[in-house]
Point group: C5
Chain length 341, copies 5
């Protein structure tokens, strides 16, 4: 489900962004409370062992380890790599949104260019927009866990009315080692050609217009599929993950309060705190930033922040039938408007 | 209201940018004086308690807390995450401006392609551009608090003359679970098709041209709506907010002047200042930077810096009627210009 | 005036970029010598007061202030915010260049599509390109101080021959609360329609081609106007300015040589210099960087680096007449070229 | 082979990204285990020599070297240059993916616009799409080691059926010092022109549509070729390489545990570790980041992460024949869909 | 000459990027050996004077200067400004490549749309593509030192056969204060119009297609010219240059080994080295990075990394004649391909 909050901060006012901190859905807390809990559990485990489970000799050894870790946490430059990585992922995330195929342009043009109020005309217009929707659904079937779950097989599409029995048979009879997901685009073009031959499309220009729209629509489906196929290079993700998690592994030791001042001297060991409050903040900060990437890297999943594909598909089917069929030739009578002379 | 100041700094001269610091409207002061006041109030409250409300024992405890906070302020890398976040938000901000739909292209083409100086011709041209404007207003009704307030219901649009009684009835009779905001685009296309059939548009090419323009116009409306629907991922905003506000929470303690030199030794505690002047600057800097994001994240609101939608809508209605109707067929007689031979 | 130097550094060779340091026009020195002078004047004023105007007691007080300032200069992260800000401004700067409307495409097409060597044909072609130029000039009249000064009123345009008497009257008779700067685009489209009706344009396609070009041309004018209207958010500019100037305010004290070693101990106070040479370099660096933004933020002004609008307008008028009228139907006789068989 | 893992992290959940760390194919370990091994071998070699191979005098000398190196590792700003460099390379990487020419648009349009179910019609459609595929393969022959290996000569293409005997002879008879890889684009245009003359393409518009598609297709091939020809400037790559490798050369000494506390005093020499665990992490981090660039800089090679060109070519040939020939005129009979009234 | 090395690193393997360090052409060594030599010469000069030319008193003075410089080198944030600047320059560099006008699209379309195998047909096709090439060469004549040297005057173009005697006369007879470099674009459009009138181009659509291509081609030429005219703002380049060179000026002193431990105490003066090895690395790094910018800022020059314009022009002339004339109407006979049924 998409988390929309822009209107809440439509005025930059006192208590604007901080107000957003109390939300749960899609929030940083929801995304990382398990990580946080694990981290703190380990932190206190080590604290317990160190304070009550070790002799002074071993305590001092562990303090040295802690100091060593402390330094390490200062030299790891997570911020940069995170900044560039998140920017990269966020770019892809938005590009994927931009490539979600909406059939509205096609539906508007089908309604305008394919004439004929008789049954065959209606059949054609409905089939044309259904092919567009079908193409989109075939695409998402292989790229989105949400749609895959909703329509696991072509039979589910048949039941949902996105496909006719006839079309299902046709598609199953095509022998193609590369799958058949792109076939509805072909049907669209062929059907448009027929409509032109029957004179329902009045001009070759309008035929071309429809076919161009379908090519662009299919191009967007191809991009959706490409973003799924070509992930962010695994190495990049691993580098970032290693950076963040090794930082916090080092923190497990490095942020312990050291009991023996002679070992700790010269370092930041002022306060014997029981809650490592600022480490918690840093955790929120760095792991939260990583979670930003994690929730954006696959925007067609089930995260709170992911694009709501189920809604999109329902909407597209309904709106495209509405435009191409129900409202065809329906429009208000022309009357003088308020500003008429 | 938009804050325009470019011309004031059109020459890079002495006292160029600093001159801008004295402006109030849309300024950093206006956006953050409340935050600043709260911060200073808390700062002085803590100072008062620390100096006069605590025994020496507790003072030293608090000093240790202060030192601990001081360190924290050094390790939090706000600048980076801010830089990347603000760049991200600023990119979206400009993209939203670029997607504001202006009906000028449509109006120019309606005026050129839809002929007929009789009443029906005028009715058609006026209706075509009104549909475009109506589509834009429907879009902003659901994405901008400003327009929502101005036109809370469809009746307000009727009163404002953006819709005729007939059109209102038609739109209310459409049963669509997905709303009807996109219907004017459909009317536009249908009306254009009729105009073509009546011969008022002389060529299928010009019909296509008008329909393409409307598809692009509608695409822009869809983008406006998308930017509203798909916010910057909440986690990202929360991460940045946590970073900035935890920094200043730490400053509340960490920037206090420490009374006991033996605790404070080795740290930056040189001057017993009563006004934490540089902390104030840092506050201006970091919170100001965050406010940049806050005022850009929803550019269709009521901030000083937001795009003036009310003006834009008024302008669009007037200019599109002017071009499509009033000035139709009106143009100056051709005469020889000054450089003729 | 534009400062062109690329050819000078066309070879990356020894002494390449440093050679550019000796230029004056458009240089960092020219842009910031006043700031530099002021800074140094204040610096020496404070030095004088501190050394000879204060008792030792007050000197030590001031030294504490200096140390305090010194720290501050270490914590302010100007570089980042500058980097992101300048990138943002530079992006807009280039986008503005890209949106300068050049009438060449229109002129080439007018010359190719609008036939007729008689006077009416010439009148039409000349009027079409003049309308394009006029639209551009109207745009720059409200966005560029340079053009505003050159053509303060419409009468100046009349005198300059960019407008005929007839056109001036027509435009003054249009009642539009939103101005009339966009009207020439309308004239262009109407005149093109007439030319089509008269058969001077042979095909509806060519009419559409001309109208599309004008819509794009007008779109560019709209972008120019948008960049003027929607400035970089004021807060952003103020944040950057505060960062840079507070840094140098702190330097005024923090970079003084401290006379009393006991106060200064542990800090960088090695050399009693009279010229704060490296502070001067830092000044060049940071303020210079800010000046980059300052000279790019309004590229239609009078800075050395601004786009030369006066030249552009003159060039456009001359070239468009040349292409659309003078060279119409003029082209060299076809002969065999050197490589013929 | 492409490494796809997006679906695995489609939910941002506990143990999301870390789970990716255990993959081998395309992983950081696979890419850099040799570097890591060499680094550690050298590290232990130096350790052995230093501890057991040197007199105390020389040990102290080497410790000074170590301290010197230690400082150096602190001042080298690898992170930045890496961040910008990787962003640059990643941009090119994705652009190259975007420019891979897919013949689907061409195949759909050939199927729709080139009519005729007779043999000549089929021959034409098959030839048109084969020319597109051939053009792509010629391009990749000179830019991808994978395709070069698969089709070292034009005879291999003949055997693979991508070229007919006739076409091979024709292409070999063309005398062109600039190669002939672009010739199939020309054949495509000429063949389309002939189809138009024969009336198999019904409208000049559709001819133009096909030729435009081919021009774009050819443009993408040109871009593929350009990215191969114009590498990232060598200097940039060298600068980054020098930065990373000099860093780790310094680490070889600087990260040794120093035996003599009097030399090491004041530095981070707390723990006598035998495994330089955090240096190993840094190595993973920096060299891993460099490897990201290395595997992205030539995406048409044989890295795990490279685009699978062999599969792409096979797929394109099969799909384009399917669309342009096998499925030509084949589409399901129109029947009422589930939502019909 | 372009330096192509992508294929060499097509596999991310051990010793991938480091292998590139041994190249000379286009390498960092070639670009900066003079700078490096000068720097080292000055470094050793100062060392010599300091060690053997000064009394102890002056030595200590100079040591103070050195310490002062040492600090300065720590505070100058070159990396950032370099990162942003190089990204800016690299963006322009690639945009310039993208705007190099290639006549292939024009040649393909001329060959397809302009029919007639007689002499006049050939003359026309050859002239059309020659005009495109001529336009590109005129553009590069004023923007590239390489082409300027090759064709200093129009007579050289005549000799090279890029222009006929007739055309030269025509162009010289045009009186235009703005030059005549854009005139071939006009000829192209006029000639295409004539071909349409003679019926050699069969449809107005194809005429428009050719003219649109020429407008885009001319647009690219305009962009090339714009990138030459509008340099990166001089201030920006100066700021970066000052930053880098002042850094190394400070290094000349700051990286000297200090003889008197009492002055140097607390600073990094551990090793008395004779070769400032790490300073050399830093030099490579920073100056190398600057050289990246230097060699990218004018990509039409004679650097190793610059685009090979001479080759491009030769190729374009040959390929465009080949496509538009030699191969006109030539294409292989259609035969059944290997996969036929």
């Amino acid at each position: 489900m998409t988390v929309t909050y822009t209107l809440e901060v439509s005025r930059a006012r006192f208590w604007g962004f901080p107000k957003l901190l109390i939300r749960w859905k899609g929030s940083i807390y929801r995304l990382m409370y398990l990580e946080m809990t694990s981290f703190l559990a380990l932190f206190y485990l080590i604290m317990t062992i160190y304070r009550w489970g070790l002799s002074e000799e071993y305590q001092k050894q562990l303090e040295k380890v802690a100091l060593y870790c402390r330094e390490f946490t200062l030299t790891i430059p997570i911020t940069f790599v995170m900044g560039f990585y998140v920017t990269f992922v966020a770019g892809r995330w938005w590009q994927q949104y931009m490539n979600i195929p909406w059939p509205d342009r096609i539906a508007l043009q089908v309604s305008a260019y394919v004439s004929g109020a008789d049954e065959r005309g209606r059949l054609m217009r409905r089939a044309l927009v259904r092919y567009a929707n079908l193409l989109a659904i075939f695409t998402f079937q292989s790229t989105s866990t949400v749609i895959k779950r909703r329509f696991p097989t072509i039979d589910h599409l048949l039941e949902a009315g996105l496909l006719t029995e006839e079309e299902k048979r046709t598609i199953e009879n095509i022998h193609s080692p590369q799958g058949t997901w792109f076939v509805p685009a072909h049907w669209f073009c062929q059907l448009a050609t027929i409509a032109r031959k029957e004179g329902r499309i009045h001009d070759d220009l309008h035929l071309k217009s429809l076919i161009d729209e379908m090519c662009n629509f299919r191009g967007q489906c191809g991009m959706i599929w490409s973003y799924d196929w070509i992930s962010v290079p695994l190495v990049y993700t691993q580098v970032v993950t290693i950076a963040v998690y090794s930082f916090f592994m080092a923190c497990l030791f490095g942020r312990q309060y050291l009991l023996h001042a002679d070992v700790a001297k010269g370092t930041d060991n002022i306060l014997d705190y029981y809650v490592p409050i600022f480490t918690v903040f840093q955790f929120c900060f760095y792991v939260g930033w990583l979670k930003v990437a994690e929730s954006m890297i696959c925007p067609f999943g089930e995260d709170d922040d992911d694009f709501e594909l189920n809604w999109i598909i329902d909407r597209n089917v309904q709106v495209s039938y509405l435009l191409a069929d129900t409202l065809h030739l329906k429009h208000p009578r022309l009357t003088r408007d308020l500003f008429w002379d």
